[in-house]
């Protein structure tokens, strides 16, 4: 998948908006949204929230994990921790700046752990707490590399087998 597709998937998530218009319930194929009344918060899918904001029809309620102080704390925690800390939202990269720093920290950790994994020749890796976009950043590089490695290792192994059979 490319980043635009990961974003597309993330846009399905619900977000809270405060509309400045009145409108009855909308019967969307993906489910009902609304009704909308001026000043009353309502949950809509992110794509709809963004679309309405673009048309100046609403204000998006910032999720509390995006609070600057909380993010700064989160960044500190990530920097101190050797392992991945739990992200407050699966798709935290949708918003930026401070997040960029967290991303960089996590990606460099990710690269080291990938390198360790390759050296250990493990058959599988555990990747808890990695978010969708992070996983996507090493795809398809990592799985392709491992596919190639596995292909070589299998050929090498078959050669060994046929040698021992010959003896």
């Amino acid at each position: 998948m490319d980043a635009a597709e990961v974003e597309f998937l993330a846009e399905k998530l619900p977000i809270s908006i405060v509309p400045n218009f009145a409108q009855d319930k909308l019967y969307l194929i993906s489910g009902d949204v609304g009704p909308f009344s001026p000043g009353i918060p309502v949950e809509v899918p992110l794509w709809l929230g963004l679309n309405l904001r673009q048309r100046s029809k609403c204000r998006i309620v910032i999720p509390d994990w995006l609070d600057e102080e909380k993010l700064a704390e989160k960044k500190e925690e990530e920097a101190q921790s050797k392992v991945f800390t739990q992200m407050p939202c699966e798709h935290y990269m949708i918003v930026k700046t401070l997040l960029k720093d967290i991303w960089d920290l996590r990606i460099s950790k990710l690269r080291s752990s990938v390198a360790d994994f390759i050296l250990s020749e493990g058959s599988h890796a555990k990747l808890d707490r990695l978010t969708h976009m992070e996983i996507n950043s090493i795809r398809p590089f990592l799985p392709h590399s491992l596919d190639q490695f596995h292909r070589l290792a299998k050929s090498a192994h078959n050669t060994e087998l046929s040698q021992t059979q010959d003896l």
Binding site: I29, S30, W47, N51, H124, K126, P143, H150, K154, H157
Partner: protein
């Protein structure tokens, strides 16, 4: 303008009825699976037909409403999103169908129950025509000019097969203890892993194929 009613819209099996949001959800899941899986998964023609019908109906309804209608824009946006999922899903399938055409046709030919085929009837005839157009091209351009002894075209030998040993990313939905990871590269380092609910892994497709099928683990 009348919105499409949200009642029961589709029967995926003869028995099972689903609402439009459920169908869409299933379609999106099928799309992600198809994007991530190294091989072609079973076709979901019912979901595709149903969703196409939904967006076509919605498009018809929109024609009757004023352009500036605030709701129209929202519905259009949603139609664009659904149409994207549909065409991306079908495109990914077509790419795999072309690449593995011969292999897939053979696989389906050995299936007894017609409802178990990987390819839909339309996809199957697409694959057949694709294979036959290639073969006749090879024949016409080079094979017929070759000495007879070497002229034959062995589609089985030449055909491309999916790599079921590909590494994939997955998330565990239902805890599954004792999954055996065979080591086919020697050293006899077979391993057993306990898959805990909510954890994420990078593993080879064929080691978790059945778990993917049953939904105990999902692609991420």
């Amino acid at each position: 303008m009348s919105d499409v009613d949200e009642d029961v819209v589709a029967a995926s099996d003869d028995e099972e009825m689903m609402t439009a949001p459920e169908v869409l959800q299933r379609l999106e899941e099928a799309w992600i699976i198809e994007r991530m899986s190294p091989t072609l998964e079973r076709h979901q023609t019912d979901l595709v037909d149903c969703m196409l019908d939904q967006i076509n109906q919605m498009t018809e309804n929109l024609k009757r409403c004023k352009k500036q209608d605030f709701r129209a824009a929202v519905h259009k946006m949603e139609i664009d999103r659904i149409r994207y999922v549909l065409s991306s899903y079908l495109r990914v399938r077509l790419e795999k169908i072309e690449r593995y055409a011969h292999h897939l046709l053979e696989k389906d030919a050995s299936v007894k129950d017609q409802s178990e085929t990987v390819l839909s009837p339309e996809e199957a005839s697409y694959a057949k025509e694709y294979v036959s157009s290639m073969e006749s091209h090879f024949q016409k351009v080079v094979l017929q000019q070759m000495p007879e002894i070497i002229r034959g075209f062995d589609a089985v030998k030449e055909c491309v097969r999916p790599n079921l040993e590909s590494y994939i990313f997955l998330k565990v939905k239902e805890a599954t203890p004792g999954v055996l990871l065979e080591d086919d590269t020697g050293d006899g380092r077979d391993e057993e892993v306990d898959l805990e609910e909510g954890s994420q892994y990078l593993m080879r497709y064929n080691t978790v194929k059945d778990l993917l099928q049953s939904g105990a683990v999902v692609f991420i």
